[in-house]
């Protein structure tokens, strides 16, 4: 039995075919990304100028359409506030799940519903905030902070799930060592568990920021689309995705050019956060 039987031609061909198909599939998956980035650069970079980033949209039908300053400002303000709400809350829920809830029935239920939340379409969050905060007229009608709340709802499950995964990875021997030294739970959590999991948690938060920055649907119902820059989170607020959405709807070349420029700016912003998250994840020993 020392001779090896050669693989038959048919089997060899099937193998080759399958390989070719898989490579083709992978190529097809990559092509849209290349195309999108290509067109973004090609049409977007032309719109960029100093004026583009430092002026508000004018809304004038002729002449200078203005830039995207208010949109960038609005996105940063609203996503910033949303992060300030969603990050601590999400990490808090994750902490309860890993440190207290563990495998209890209630914790399983919470975990399940956090997963359900990740699957809720972002427009439903927008509708919900519209119904509860805008229609009821809490603090005026449309407002930046209401947009933030919608974004925070969207970020919450992302932060919770990623934080829970990292917190699970903190070795229980570390917790036991802290407790054995007589430290109370809250100190163990604050001084041992959280610091150990921090890089991973930050990665999750950054990814949720990247996600929230690109969301349009929750914002058009809550913060709407305006032109002027504002630092007042209680007033209607512009945002990059909303600005792009409104410009796409106008059949004017100047506005479409602005949409491409804004889209490029938005993608660059999101890639920045994603890359940062990746780098941090690589640094983190826990992941």
């Amino acid at each position: 039995m020392t001779t090896l039987t050669a693989i038959s031609g048919a089997r060899r061909r099937a193998d080759l075919m399958a390989r070719a198909l898989l490579i083709a599939g992978t190529a097809i998956a990559v092509v849209p990304l290349v195309l999108i980035l290509f067109y973004l650069l090609k049409r977007g970079i032309g719109a960029w100028s100093f004026h583009f980033f430092t002026s508000d949209p004018t809304g004038r039908f002729f002449g200078d359409p203005g830039g995207i300053r208010s949109a960038i400002l609005g996105t940063i303000e609203m996503v910033g506030l949303a992060t300030a709400v969603a990050a601590p809350t999400g990490v808090g829920v994750a902490l309860w799940l890993t440190e207290y809830g563990k495998a209890s029935r209630f914790a399983t239920l919470v975990r399940y519903f956090v997963d359900v939340l990740t699957g809720v379409p972002s427009i439903v969050f927008g509708l919900f905030i519209y119904i509860t905060l805008v229609l009821t007229g809490v603090g005026g009608s449309f407002a930046g902070w209401k947009g933030s709340v919608a974004l925070a709802l969207l970020m919450l499950p992302i932060v919770t799930r990623s934080a829970e995964v990292v917190l699970e990875l903190v070795p229980s021997s570390l917790r036991e060592a802290g407790l054995a030294l007589g430290a109370p739970r809250w100190q163990v959590i604050g001084r041992v568990v959280l610091p150990a999991a921090l890089p991973g948690i930050v990665t999750g938060v950054l990814l949720s920021i990247a996600r929230a920055a690109g969301e349009t649907a929750p914002l058009i119902f809550t913060a709407t689309i305006v032109k002027a820059s504002t630092y007042d989170l209680g007033a209607p607020m512009n945002s990059l995705p909303a600005q792009i959405f409104s410009d796409v709807g106008q059949a004017q070349d100047r506005l479409v050019a602005r949409a491409w420029g804004a889209a490029l700016a938005l993608v660059v912003l999101i890639l920045l956060f994603t890359t940062l998250a990746r780098l941090l994840a690589r640094r983190s020993a826990l992941r």
Partner: protein, 334 residues
Amino acid sequence: MESASIGATYGGRPALGRPPLARLPDRVLKWGLAALAAGVLVLIGFFFVRLYIEAKPAFDRFGYFGFTFTNNWDVQGNTFGALPLLVGTLITSAVALVIGVPVAIAAALYTTEFCPSRYRTVLASVIDLLAAVPSVVYGLWGFFVLIPKLRPAEQWFSDTFSFLPFVGGHVAGPSYFIAGLVLAIMIIPIVSAISREVISTVPTDHKEAALALGATRWEMIRMAVLPYSRAGITGAAMLGLGRAMGETIAATIVIGNAPVLGKSLFDQGYTLAAVIANEFGEAASDPLHRAALIAAGLILFTLTLIVNAVARGIIVRGPAREEGAASEAFGATG
């Protein structure tokens, strides 16, 4: 856990116990965090109830069944039947699944089984990058690049294969097909990422056993990898379906926003999510119209809840590691 009582006592309390005041922060933290966790549940319940209350006028007027399954969305006539929207959502997500899922699985298989390990992470993160592109940018690209470039090919296809059902006739620019195609691109990263994680949990023993028996790579995949990861991949596809159904802005831009039942794949249509985003502005002053839009949102919410619950069920039943992987990938897209 807070104070392990050891035999000796001192002044009425265990010698090693903490004074009551020192134990307070622990209690506060424990119950505070528990309240946060419970808050998530309350939130979802509140969500559903509020949406339902606001949608009720539309349901009262047209009936639950009547609203959902009547083919008549007429804003001027103040009559609302969501069938064209529901059908649009189902058709575009079906197109997205048919195109997107095979591509995503192929990419996942290639990345995990064939790609040289040196390039594996690079290839994986390139495909994940698709998730970093925002919905509105997909819409912009789809509208100004994909629609004009694909139109001749679509028209040719429509003319040549007009004997097929739902094919033929004039090709509209924005259409069910274009929307489905854009959604397919958008679900590739999530389906691929979860499939990749699921496939990487296949025990090396199984794969080596197949190879040792003389299987070719493809036979090994067919006999060892796919059977083991079938549940997980199905779950991944379902999650992709949930995504596709709820996707709003990209679909709004490229579907044409015509509230009718298109006769072919290349006709303009509407989806549940798109109608909300689009008609919302004009509906602010008309309570019935607004209720109808919220009712459309409620239908969408219910649909995605069911799909996601089923997907979760399928994935969780697989090996334990898959769940973590799935939820990670869950969050990493947008």
